[in-house]
Symmetry: D2
Subunit: 142 residues, 4 copies
């Protein structure tokens, strides 16, 4: 069994569609960057976060970003995502976007494990063991 | 029974997210404008183009745009959409985007009626009569 | 002189492009909804938030959303945006997304007033009086 | 001097934000895929297609796609872009999107070289020699 996964680094380039008339990446695009890193993290754990016919889904409870410096067209950057809390029903991620040594943005995302069955309301559920065992929260920095 | 519908005019304002670093609406956004007008046309006919549990869906066969003049942030414009062909299995639309008297872009879209059933491949199907009777193609200009 | 503006209610319908394969509005789209309401609030104050050749711009310092219930294709909803803090250099907004009586999401956004001059680094600046006098923060609920 | 460039193959994975409630990649996203390949083609020629302060820009004259098969979340695909015509003022591209051996979509894009100077209307211009010499149209298949 491979080691549980607690982080992922996505390397990415700014695409033209992600810029706006101010000449910078639009602030909403950072949520897409964070999600791309999340799904890559899941793949690196041998999992997929979304299967259309699956009962278990991962809607978002909360997310946010603080912005420190702009990103521009064609710049290369890194999205550092790590699991900071693996709860009974939720996963909480922290996200750091960097371009070379420059801090660009800092984000967080909380997703909740739910069950969707036809004709029933969506309800939260404990994270299934086959998913939980593939992940681990990072140790808090001392 | 209300008259069949063959056209719709959507009034819209350019949103900031639709601009790019060149300061103009990104060319891909016109496809979203055309689709918004298409769905408004369907609602004006008393229909919805998409229901998750429905068997009948309307994927796209082809689409395109020619661009005549730029659109900028906060400008107001109109999307004129009309049905130019109501085939056995397809609907073909023509689209004219205008800002005041200025021609901005000219587009077209062809959607095909398909049946999606679990475990079966998607296949095209004749347009159901309860949909067909709500639409009519515009007469070609003489 | 018209009254200063402290809030705006945007009425909107979910567009197909805003949904994702889970059948719901993608969580990142709420930031576009919040921004659409912000720009409509500025227009209702007789201002525009972005002019390409202007010196003053309004990049974002921070934003976030908490999600309470899903939105689906073609549903109509309201974005209630209000100014909760009018600082020396920043404006802070609170945002409530509702569908009929249902709480959908709660957000916040902080924008900072900056000066962009060719060849100079972007730097924050006090909000110009002709903008400041058009806005007022809402009174905190007792 | 390196060889002129006439094509590029972009390898890409479907991101969640690109799907819609029908469970497929939204048809408008293919224009973003085509543009990503275009900009990568320019980079492979040692050029960038957009510089904010440059006089020369490349707005779009026309584009379109025909759709042959759907793409779904997390699928990997290839965008084959090639220059099919290098005109005096325009570049015309053809685009083939494939997943393994399956034809997904076929597109085309025409961009025009323009000059933007403050206070002057945008006007088309012959492609500058330092750009022209870096590109070549593919030979038509016999």
């Amino acid at each position: 069994m491979p080691e549980p996964v607690s982080g992922f680094v996505l390397r990415r380039r700014v695409q033209f569609r992600e810029t706006d008339a101010a000449g910078l990446v639009h602030f909403s695009c950072f949520f897409n960057y964070m999600e791309e890193a999340e799904h890559a993290l899941w793949r690196s754990a041998g999992l997929t976060i979304f299967e259309r016919e699956a009962e278990v889904h991962w809607p978002r409870l909360a997310c946010g970003f603080e912005y420190h410096a702009p990103l521009r067209f064609e710049e290369e950057f890194e999205v550092h995502l790590c699991i900071v809390e693996l709860g009974e029903r939720t996963i909480r991620y922290a996200c750091h976007v960097r371009r070379d040594g420059t801090k660009i943005a800092t984000g967080q995302l909380t997703a909740v494990c739910v069950i969707k069955r036809p004709g029933e309301p969506i309800r939260s559920t404990p994270i299934p063991p086959e998913i939980r065992e593939r992940f681990a929260a990072v140790e808090a920095a001392a």
